[in-house]
């Protein structure tokens, strides 16, 4: 199956970008786990002819050089979903966009480069109510595109809370989330 844009994550960022791109005439697909699905934009997206893979989850990606070629999902098994461009909007820790073990912070889906403080003692402030550094971490980007092992992946655009500096756990971040999604969509639209 081939799309113009495949959006991973159906939260505020993913659905904002998907709705915008679909309404501009691009063929979009959203892979979204049920819980995070943004309902209002979902109706709009489907009405505009978008493909929604609800309750499914991207589990792997095939890269070639500086491009993401295709992804596979939990439910579709060995079916390769291909797209010209991808938006990664899987959020931060709670939604599984970022993860950490005892030794490092990482992006669990594709192993993208992440921006974080290696000194774990700096991650958390002793006061619960103070700003927390761990909420500032995110995937590295260059010209709006993700990096993997230092190489810019030219067709993979992270958006929303997976980006460094955006977190709705630090206060109302809806505006930054929406802006980052619109920027990613605009960059793809310009191509």
């Amino acid at each position: 199956m081939k799309f113009d844009v495949l959006i991973i994550g159906g939260g505020l960022a993913g659905m904002t970008a998907a709705t915008k791109l679909q309404s501009e005439g691009l063929r979009c697909a959203v892979v979204a786990e049920g819980l995070s699905l943004h309902n209002v934009s979902r109706r709009e997206f489907c009405a505009a002819g978008g493909t929604l893979l609800a309750g499914d989850k991207v589990v792997s990606g095939r890269f070639s050089g500086d491009r993401l070629i295709s992804v596979r999902t939990e439910k579709l098994g060995d079916v390769d979903l291909e797209a010209d461009n991808y938006i990664l909007a899987t959020g931060k820790y709670f939604s599984g966009g970022l993860a950490a073990d005892m030794d490092r912070l990482y992006e669990p889906l594709f192993g993208l480069d992440v921006e974080y403080d290696e000194d774990r003692s700096k991650w958390f402030d002793a006061s619960f109510s103070a700003p927390q550094k761990f909420l500032e971490f995110g995937v590295k980007v260059q010209d709006g595109r993700a990096l993997k092992d230092g190489v810019q992946i030219v067709n993979l655009y992270p958006a929303g809370e997976i980006l460094a500096g955006i977190s709705s756990a630090q206060g109302d971040a809806r505006e930054s989330v929406i802006n980052s999604a619109i920027e990613a969509a605009a960059a793809i639209g310009r191509k």
């Binding site: 993860a99 619960f128 109510s129 927390q132 761990f134 109302d172």
Partner: protein
């Protein structure tokens, strides 16, 4: 000096030792004052596994401790039934233990030592062990069943304090010891500071008992005597649910992280042992190395721990005491240390009770009280081994549940489990009172009101120690504002709610910071999101 400031004995320290000593003294008819600078069980008493030792752990190396343990184990099952859960325990042998000299030869030696100490221990096959406790490491090559259990140390301390009060003792919480009042070579009283009002006061008694755990070192120094104490930090991890139902120990020489204890809704692995400076005792942080070690050893007992969410980490300080006859301090005693400073140092009217362990608190209290009674010329025998604690009067929880009309609710069952027969004092009058505040631990508004009314609660940490509010899998994330509001209203100070919740969250946050990765990190983001979206808990705004 007004007469109401005069007592027969003043006990410093509201941990399990002080609480037990206060109970014993009060039961022998003495007029008792118990002083605690914070809340009950805030030191080592509340910062351990909550293991009801069978004594098996000490059987090979220290038969005296083992015998003490099994004796007290049997007593606690009787007098503190509502604090104890009869989980049973396993001592498992892994293939790598055999390689390091702890194989079947050691197991045989262990069995013999247990039976010599009076601990019923019996070897079972690995297959039987897995049937008994499915979470146990399936690679085990041998297992021994022992009468271990779990004990809620907060509940146990609270029950002792409650009984002391029922026998006429006066208890001052959040009251700090400042100095002794001395007359020549005799301690005749203490100067105290109420940390909430800032007021100082003087109390007098012919005998003062130092039962302040590791902090007893400084208290003894104020009396001009030296007790060679060494703070030994022990770190522990709490897992997000009850992974095992049977205590799992490693059958080898005691080492770090080799005991896994199920307690209420969680499982606890511990512990480490590190000497720390006295300055650190008041505020201990668990280090990454300690966490790594505990996880590694924990997974050897129970592999499922590798992918179980860690709720939090915490640490306590054991008050280790160097033997008096060893000036280097290398020879550390783990046994009970009861010092008469009159015969030892020429300071009259002063006793230190320390060393020992949670398991032997009652025996420690008995020894200290015997000494106090000798000093006061009181001739009355100890009866704490026979007399059940408040909460355990009716024995088993099943009987307690019968006091409810109809089928007890989850909140009533939870309360009966925690408060034992005292649950009859909780007033489940209205629908609001029956509502759950903490859903992880099934704590109702009625139980919170009861704790405020009768158990001396002034903040959410105090409430947690008496009701387990916020101790479950959500760590207060979903209930603490409700609990704070309920507590503030029960205290008659509704304006305190925000501050109570903020303090509680900081304390939970501390335990989570040490284990901030994996699912715990997800929980931490969630917690921040729940409470900070509109930043209601910034101190600047409160």
């Amino acid at each position: 000096m007004p007469a109401n400031n005069e007592f027969d004995v003043i006990i410093i320290g509201g941990g399990i030792t002080g609480a037990g000593t206060a109970r014993d003294c009060a039961m022998r008819g003495l007029k008792v004052l118990l002083v605690e600078r914070r809340d009950i069980a805030t030191g080592a008493s509340g910062r351990n596994h909550g293991l009801l030792h069978s004594g098996a752990r000490y059987a090979v190396k220290d038969s005296e401790s083992a015998e003490e343990c099994i004796k007290e184990n049997k007593i606690l099952r009787r007098i503190a039934a509502h604090c104890v859960e009869d989980t049973g325990g396993l001592f498992i042998t892994l293939p790598e233990d055999a390689d390091s000299g702890y194989g079947f030869d050691y197991q045989a030696k262990f069995l013999e030592a247990c039976n010599n100490a009076g601990i019923e221990a019996r070897a079972i096959s690995p297959r039987e062990a897995i049937q008994m406790e499915p979470s146990v490491n399936p690679r085990l090559i041998g297992a021994v069943v022992v009468p271990d259990g779990s004990v809620d140390p907060f509940r146990l301390t609270c029950a002792n304090v409650t009984d002391a009060v029922l026998h006429g003792a006066k208890v001052l919480l959040y009251t700090e010891f400042v100095d002794f009042i001395k007359e020549a070579d005799t301690i005749v009283g203490v100067k105290l500071l109420d940390t909430r009002t800032g007021q100082t006061s003087e109390y007098r008694a012919p005998v003062t008992v130092n039962a302040a755990g590791i902090w007893g070192h400084g208290i003894a120094a104020k009396a001009g005597v030296q007790v060679g104490m060494y703070p030994a930090k022990g770190a522990l991890l709490v897992f997000g649910h009850r992974v095992n139902n049977v205590v799992i120990n490693r059958c080898r020489k005691s080492a770090d992280g080799d005991i896994l204890v199920p307690g209420d809704s969680v499982t606890i692995i511990g512990t480490t042992s590190t000497k720390v400076p006295f300055e650190e005792c008041d505020n201990m942080e668990v280090t990454p190395d300690e966490v790594r070690l505990l996880l590694r050893e924990g997974c050897a007992l129970c592999p499922a721990l590798a992918h179980t969410r860690i709720l939090r980490a915490y640490a306590g300080v054991r008050p280790l005491v160097a033997s008096d006859d060893d000036p280097t301090g290398r020879s550390i005693s783990r046994g009970i240390v009861c010092l008469d400073h009159e015969t030892r140092d020429g300071v009259k009217g002063f006793v230190t009770i320390t060393g020992g362990k949670l398991m032997t608190y009652r025996l420690m209290a008995e020894q200290a009280t015997d000494l106090v009674c000798r000093k006061l010329g009181v001739n009355k025998a100890c009866s704490t081994a026979q007399t059940p604690l408040p909460g355990s009067m009716d024995g088993r929880i099943e009987n307690v549940s019968k006091c409810f009309e109809g089928k007890p609710s989850a909140g009533q069952k939870g309360a009966a489990g925690r408060q034992g027969d005292l649950v009859t004092r909780i007033r489940f009058d209205s629908d609001a009172d029956r509502q759950l505040v903490c859903e992880c631990e099934n704590v109702t508004l009625a139980e919170i009101k009861y704790a405020v009314r009768e158990l001396g609660v002034s903040n959410l940490e105090d409430l947690r120690r008496r009701t387990r509010v916020g101790m479950g899998t959500c760590q207060g994330t979903l209930c603490i504002r409700k609990a704070a509001k309920a507590l503030a209203e029960a205290l008659g100070k509704p304006e305190l709610a925000e501050k109570l919740a903020a303090d509680y969250l900081n304390e939970r946050w501390k335990g989570m910071r040490a284990v901030g990765w994996g699912d715990t990190l997800r929980e931490m983001e969630f917690m921040q999101r729940v409470y900070k979206f509109e930043k209601p808990y910034s101190y600047d705004e409160v």
